[in-house]
Amino acid sequence: MPEYIAKKSALTDFFKALSAGRRLLTPQGAGDQCRLAETAPDQVKLDYVNTHMSPKTLFFPQTEKLMAFHKDASKPDANIYSCAGDKAVPTVVFGLRPCDARGLSVANKVFQNDRFTDPYWKGKFDQTVSVGLACAAPAPQCFCAAMGGSPYGLTGLDILAFRLEGGDLGLKAGSEAGEALLKDLKLESADLAAVFNSQQAAAIQAQGVAPDYRPIDEANLMALFQDPHWLSTAENCLNCGVCTFFCPTCHCFDIQDEQDEKGGVRMRNWDTCMSWLFTVHGTGHNPRPSKTERVRQRFMHKLKYIPLKQDGVRGCTGCGRCVAMCPVNIDIRAVALKMCQSSAPSQA
């Protein structure tokens, strides 16, 4: 597949064409105010680090109505839930970072798993064209390459944009839909493979030497689980759940009903495995009673359980949010190294 070029002088036209018939979402605002917001084609910014929250909010908002019922007893469907989810809007999101796109593809396999399809996620997911922007310069907390990704990765993206010298945008398709869309946009095509590859190599190198986390993949699940390091790994954890709220692959939720005089709704809200309430049984028994088990659950889930279920793909994409946001500096890279050691044959 050839690459395409969107000229610097015609970027507004490019975004206009890209967003024809769709709303355009791009990262707006700086620092911790950076978030995906609806954008006019001439207002797209290319110089941000990444959005503060992960883009999972696009398909999986913090609170989402699933269904509703009314209490009007004169009607036959009183007190019966019917679907009342919000209609998905055709959307193109520009500026996803490859780590986040990869995270969305991991979450997608959970929401559309081997047995069930989540219609609320799928509705929005299917209506969205994902366009990434490659990371030429990694942020200090970035480690996507160490987790098996790339700052120029295409996974989970329809199109990846990368900046060319002089201000033009190079465009590479990541999916058939992306390829079709690029063709439709009637852009100048070019062979940018060499530029792409050298930019990618430089960007990966800028992240430093990547630690090798493969011993975790090879290790026995129970050996990882039973290792004594979890006690000290979890000791300073506050169990706040910030890591889970910011993580692009964390997808856990709680289902809650609320009602008033007229009717009620069933909704889902983000939940976190760091919470005591998350697993407690009606009897009071809790399979994960202390923070040690809960911290272990989070890291085992990211680095062992998800890879086991998703053909080796890790549940951490190295976006670095949890590292940057953790109030007590529990660094998944350090935890992963401990897991590598615990899985060493001498200790297994």
Binding site: F69, H70, D72
Partner: protein
């Protein structure tokens, strides 16, 4: 707003104000019917989250009433409650709850007339505030076309 009839949640101590309400009724002292009374063993039992729950669910006003200081059935329950009320009152006023929406009083079981007077006063003041639209949960958006 003249036809606005406020809903007021009243938390009454079992040993005094609750009796005063009873006495007012028996004595045929008329007072407005806008209250939903929650009987407490003592105002010391009143957790601030009860008051928040009332407002959250749309109460237009909350009225808390217990025994006069020194008269607590449990000796000091209302003294402890008073300190809580001082903080709660200050906090809610500071964050923008109209002071007239939240009323505290001491009414003994003999003070039926005081009960009547304060009940009327509470309703009058809450009426003047109008319906509680801001300090409550948002109405559920059912999104069902057939529900008006």
């Amino acid at each position: 707003m003249s036809d606005f009839e406020p809903k007021i949640v009243a938390f009454f101590c079992n040993w005094c104000t609750y009796g005063a309400a009873d006495l007012a009724g028996v004595s045929r002292l008329e007072y407005p019917p806008n209250f939903r009374v929650v009987r407490l063993p003592c105002t010391g039992r009143l957790n601030p989250k009860f008051i928040m729950e009332a407002f959250k669910r749309g109460a237009d006003g909350v009225w808390v009433s217990g025994c006069h200081p020194g008269d607590c059935h449990y000796i000091a329950g209302n003294y402890h409650a008073r300190r809580k009320f001082i903080l709660l009152h200050q906090l809610l006023e500071s964050i923008g709850v109209e002071p007239d929406r939240l009323r505290f009083s001491w009414i003994s079981s003999a003070e039926a007339n005081k009960f009547q007077a304060i009940a009327r006063d509470v309703v009058e003041h809450v009426k003047a505030c109008g319906p509680n639209l801001a300090f409550r949960k948002e109405e559920l958006k059912l999104g069902l076309a057939e529900v008006a």
